[in-house]
């Protein structure tokens, strides 16, 4: 701009350091995205999101540790349909009362159980292991083929209050479906080929 032969300069809007900043952000974008992705992928696998290993509050503080490790009750005493149905089965109140009409029959902790039996009203447990509705998991065939309860459910006999041991993510299921021989616990048990076990319709239908 010229006014009467004098040159007037406008002040610089951006400081010189902006140049460095812009260079760093352009070349750093790749790293920022990579870092973000890593953080997110770690986050969604963290117990905060997956709730794996998070203890659930239940109407009655039932201890698997006491019943399984302490007394030595077999899983199938309560989870009766695990060998024949897709669903392992949650015991009816009657199963609890088989013993608890005699043992700890006056314990205030067990009052909800007795109330359920008395009033013919179901106990409402909080689900610990839950799959999305578009996934069809069958307990019976996994048990039959030699996948033990603890392979998926963890050391249940060491859980004073029950938590979910694993994420139940599809990648977790596939670990085994891709390499069944690593997880099947009975020696000599026939395992299907990973090709078969990774058909989508094995679980999704």
């Amino acid at each position: 701009m010229q006014t009467g032969g004098q040159r007037v300069y406008m002040a610089q809007i951006f400081h010189r350091s902006t140049n460095t900043l812009s260079r760093v952000s352009i070349f750093g974008a790749v790293f920022i995205v990579a870092a973000l992705t890593t953080v997110i992928s770690i986050l969604i696998r963290s117990p905060y999101f997956t709730e794996a290993r998070v203890v659930r509050v239940q109407p009655v503080p039932f201890s698997h540790k006491h019943h399984v490790a302490g007394i030595g009750i077999d899983c199938r005493y309560c989870h009766t349909s695990v060998e024949e149905s897709s669903f392992a089965g949650i015991p009816p109140t009657k199963t609890c009362m088989n013993c608890h009409s005699q043992v700890w029959a006056d314990s205030p902790t067990l009052e909800p159980v007795r109330a359920s039996f008395r009033e013919d009203r179901s106990l409402e447990w909080t689900r610990v292991n839950n799959l999305p509705d578009f996934v069809y998991f069958d307990h019976s065939i996994h048990v039959r083929r030699g996948v033990s309860c603890t392979t998926c459910h963890g050391p249940v006999d060491q859980m004073p209050m029950t938590w979910r041991e694993n994420t139940l993510f599809m990648e977790w299921c596939l670990e085994c479906h891709r390499h069944p021989e690593r997880f099947v616990q009975i020696r000599g048990q026939h395992v299907d080929s990973p090709r078969k076990l990774t058909n989508c319709s094995i679980c999704h239908r």
């Binding site: 669903f87 009816p92 447990w125 065939i141």
Partner: protein, 975 residues
């Protein structure tokens, strides 16, 4: 053997340019909008809001679910495993033996009962859809008095006062109107009521009934007698307007028996032959080897001419009739003449005469005593009641079932005379047109909610057991009648146990009862000793009817237009009007959904100067009805066919105010035919939805056919039309065959196009109903459709059915175009659809040559009432919006079989996996199995020379293949 010139609709026949263009669009032009237009701003705000909400909601883990076990576990229930209970599906008073599937106390699916002689393991579309009615939110839910909700106790108190002997002198003025009753116990209760009130009367009426056959047997034998047909024993069958494969009692068994004689192996040509004379094309006419279109009133002339011919009165000069006569004469004792229930008694009498002359009685058909304990001619019965009502002689009327205000013929003016009755009690499943004109309405239990007994057309008795407690305040008919007998607190179970256990050792009865309930068929010991009515006897004497027939005069032809009535093929007499599955089920042949139409032949349409969707006015005896036209190739000229069941005013949210009411033209004197109606074009238009042009495969040699004789000569005729490119031309990876390779074979020779498979698939796979508007945009969701093709002349075409579902191509074009690998190929050859991966690009649907993929444009399930959630099959994912879906070969059933087999360390047996469509099919046309096993049934069928794949020139290698249609035409009749 010509396989060209198949056409699906009149537009295609005429090859309109506009029509060709419409086919090229994957979806109709207005497919992008539902109702109203969303502008840009609204769209952006909706999108940003949903994005924000979706982002937020994904940040938190899902809320924990509750798990609720039993307090005391029932003995039989294993959580996660379904139970099956034998019961029966009642329709028109007759029962069809079924097995109802129950998941943790929720009935979810109907299957046929293989031990029941009327079912033989199969079902029909009505039985399949009946489970939807159980959960229908529009069912009547409460006892009402003058529209106000009240209680059963209040009803009992009122009733006791009404039935006080001082007031109700011997039942003077007390009338009961029921539908057809075959239940022994219910009939016994009614008899007891009549004993208690000797002056009371019991009337029976259903709009679709056996009056003509009844009248004919009265004229012929002097008493009522039913006919039981054995189609498997007949070489030649003549149908006189009888749709015995779809709409007569016993049709499921008829279809099984009839098609058993149409399966032809290579080198054979033994096959039955069916002649059909009918006005409106029916599925029976469509599978007939020779079909003659004749006006309803001409059927009698045809029957008479054939009768004369068989009596040896020489040629009639009509090649068709002469051929029928010769064929019948050549098959004495091995033929059947069936008269349709919509034909006048005269036609039935001629059929009796023909069957007698041909020596068929005792061979291919039997005369049996009526199944009903109290058979009546129902129109007469209703007329008597209305006469009494008109005269003011009816004081108390109990309408136990049915909807006579809607279904009674117009000339009887039932609704008007009903007002003369002082106290009216209506008992039904829905609060309908009759309920609103009655003082009391008592909700009826659905048949899956109550004990009952019922008989089938062949005399089998079934104890029906409930699968679920009544969802609403329903009462059974037994409880209601018990209240009239002064025992209002008795339960249905008590009533049945007492009726069946009379005079029987308690322990022995308990055993027989349990067996009978379990089997779904009453044990012979129980039936023989304790049946309240005898099993039908067999009359040994053949009737002599020639002198009766001689009295009939031939009808003179005229050029006035006749109007015939037919029950609707999907909503029947109107009772299924609120059933969404049946409303959206494309009607056989015409493929119309959600409406009834007036069927015309192309020539008559031309004469009346109307085209499809024009509204015509039909006038008769001062009454008029307006109905949209649908032109049906093969329909008789100068005749209009109207369908009952629509035009209801109080059917529920889905059924009300839909279509026209054909009952408003019907008369009691001639309920199935108006001989002289005035028909004119009204100038109005009415939009109809027909699914026949949706998902077109553009007619590339899809249906192949030959006659049995041609097939015997040249078994490889389909080969000549095969144009499969060599396998090595494919770019797809080769799949090494493994232990199982699933495949399906569909026999076009035996498919009767009855639609049972379509509803069975819908029920099994949680397929939603989309409604008329969405169906009009080609968005119906049926995974399985039945394509209908015509061939030949537009006036007398041959008709073909072809069920089409996902072909599970070995080289599937849908798979490589999916950007997210949501549709993939399994090692067993299934073309899998993984819903949770699908992002809804619809590329797969675009690339599918068979047009079998369906897209959820909306969350169609979201509009459903909460009660509908009980209906879902828990083994199949309920799909949401934006997801593609299609036939899975019932992969849930394959997985169950695989798991069971693995648990027993064995291979899956042949026949262990039965798809839902296969299980329902009464004709046994669909066979599914392992094609890697050369000894499986499906492999053997696929190795037959008439096996062919559709569109194999695209090298898709479909796993579903068809067996070419074989017919058995008479060489004496030129086609």
């Amino acid at each position: 053997m010509t396989t060209k010139n198949f056409w699906r609709s009149l537009e295609e026949y005429a090859n309109f340019e506009e029509f060709q263009k419409s086919l090229e669009d994957e979806f109709p032009p207005d497919a992008a909008v539902r109702q109203g237009v969303v502008d840009r701003r609204e769209f952006l705000s909706l999108m940003s809001a949903s994005l924000a909400l979706a982002g937020l909601s994904s940040c938190a883990p899902a809320a924990p679910e509750k798990i609720v076990p039993y307090v005391r576990a029932p003995e039989e229930i294993v959580p996660g495993k379904p139970l099956f209970f034998a019961t029966a599906f009642p329709l028109g008073g007759y029962g069809l033996g079924i097995l109802a599937e129950s998941h943790m106390g929720r009935p979810t699916k109907i299957e046929g009962n293989p031990d029941h002689p009327a079912s033989l393991g199969s079902t029909d579309a009505f039985a399949q859809a009946s489970i939807l009615s159980l959960y229908d939110p529009d069912r009547s839910k409460a006892i009402t008095q003058a529209g106000a909700i009240t209680t059963w106790d209040a009803f009992i108190t009122n009733l006791a006062a009404e039935l006080d002997p001082k007031r109700l002198n011997k039942g003077e003025g007390f009338r009961i109107l029921t539908e057809t009753v075959t239940s022994p116990t219910l009939a016994a209760q009614l008899k007891q009521i009549l004993q208690q009130f000797p002056s009371a009367r019991w009337h029976q009426y259903e709009p679709v009934n056996a009056d003509s056959a009844r009248a004919a047997s009265r004229m012929t034998f002097g008493r009522y007698s039913d006919i039981r047909y054995h189609f498997d024993k007949a070489d030649v069958i003549l149908s006189l307007d009888a749709d015995f494969l779809l709409s007569m009692p016993g049709h499921v068994r008829h279809a099984r028996e009839f098609t058993a004689r149409r399966r032809v192996k290579a080198g054979e040509k033994e096959m039955n032959r069916l002649y059909a004379a009918e006005s409106a094309p029916s599925v029976t006419g469509a599978v007939a080897d020779h079909r003659r279109a004749a006006r309803p009133s001409q059927i009698q002339d045809i029957a008479s001419q054939i009768n004369d011919g068989v009596a040896g009165k020489g040629s009639t000069g009509d090649a068709w009739i002469d051929a029928v006569v010769r064929d019948l004469q050549a098959s004495r004792g091995k033929s059947i003449v069936v008269a349709g229930p919509h034909q006048p008694p005269e036609v039935h009498v001629i059929a009796h005469d023909l069957n007698t002359k041909l020596g068929n009685v005792g061979q291919t058909l039997e005369y049996v005593d009526p199944i009903e304990p109290n058979p009546v001619e129902q129109m007469q019965s209703l007329g008597d009641l209305i006469k009494d009502m008109q005269a003011g002689a009816v004081d108390l009327l109990l309408i136990a079932g049915g909807n006579p205000v809607y279904t009674a013929p117009a000339d009887l003016e039932f609704a008007k005379h009903l007002a003369n009755v002082r106290l009216r009690i209506h008992f039904s499943l829905y609060e309908d047109e009759t309920s609103e004109r009655c003082h009391w309405h008592i909700p009826e239990t659905h048949f899956l909610e109550s004990w009952a007994d019922i008989r089938s057309d062949d005399g089998t008795t079934t104890i029906m057991q409930p699968l679920i407690n009544p969802l609403y305040a329903g009462k059974s008919a037994y409880e209601l009648l018990s209240a009239f007998l002064g025992q209002p607190t008795r339960t249905t179970y008590e009533i049945l146990i007492e009726a069946w256990g009379q005079g029987r050792n308690k322990d022995e009865f308990e055993k027989l009862w349990r067996k009978s309930v379990h089997d779904g068929v009453v044990a012979p010991e129980l039936n023989a000793v304790g049946a309240l009515y005898e099993r039908p006897g067999r009359s040994q004497t053949a009737p002599t009817v020639s002198n009766v027939v001689a009295g009939f005069s031939p009808r003179s032809p005229s050029d006035v237009i006749e109007v015939a009535f037919r029950p609707d093929p999907t909503v029947y007499d109107g009772r299924f009007a609120n059933n969404g599955w049946l409303q959206e089920l494309p009607k056989p042949l015409i493929k119309i959904v959600w409406d009834n139409v007036a069927l015309l032949s192309p020539a008559t349409a031309e004469r009346l100067n109307v085209i499809n969707e024009d509204v015509i006015e039909i006038k008769s005896e001062g009454r008029a009805v307006r109905a949209p036209v649908w032109i049906s190739p093969g329909h008789a000229n100068d005749a209009v066919t109207l369908f009952l069941g629509y035009g209801r005013t109080r059917a529920g949210a889905l059924g009300s105010n839909r279509g026209y009411n054909a009952y408003s033209l019907r008369t009691s004197a001639s309920p199935w035919l108006i001989k002289n109606a005035e028909v004119r074009k009204s100038g109005e238009r009415y939009a109809l939805v027909s699914t026949q042009e949706h998902h077109s495969m553009e007619n590339r040699n899809l249906v192949r056919r030959a006659s049995a004789a041609e097939y015997a000569q040249r078994p490889d005729f389909v080969e000549a039309e095969r144009d499969t490119p060599p396998g090595e031309l494919t770019l797809y990876p080769e799949y090494a065959p493994e232990e199982y390779a699933w495949g399906m074979s569909i026999d076009l020779s035996t498919c009767i196009g009855c639609n049972a498979c379509v509803i069975a698939c819908q029920a099994e796979n949680n397929i939603p109903v989309v409604g008329k508007i969405e169906a009009g945009r080609s968005r119906e969701m049926h995974w399985l459709r039945i394509d209908r093709y015509y061939q030949g002349d537009i006036h007398e075409p041959e008709i073909f059915f072809q069920p089409v579902m996902c072909m599970h191509c070995e080289d599937a074009p849908c798979e490589p175009v999916c950007p997210v690998a949501a549709t993939t190929h399994s090692s067993e050859g299934l073309n899998e659809m993984t819903y949770n991966r699908c992002v809804g690009t619809r590329y797969c649907s675009n690339n599918c040559p068979y047009k079998v993929r369906r897209f959820n444009f909306f969350n169609f399930h979201s509009n459903e009432a909460p009660s509908m959630a009980l209906l879902y099959n828990p083994d199949v994912t309920v799909r949401s919006r934006g997801v593609m879906e299609k036939c899975t070969y019932c992969v849930q059933r394959i997985n169950h079989a695989r798991i069971n087999a693995k648990k027993e360390d064995r291979a899956i047996r042949d026949g262990e996996v039965v798809t839902a469509c296969q299980a329902a099919c009464p004709a046994g046309a669909i066979v599914f199995g392992n094609i890697a096993d050369p000894n499986s049934r499906v492999s053997k069928l696929k190795s037959e020379p008439r096996n062919y794949g559709v569109l194999t020139d695209l090298n898709t290698r479909p796993r579903t293949t068809y067996l070419a249609k074989l017919t058995n035409p008479n060489p004496a009749v030129k086609t």
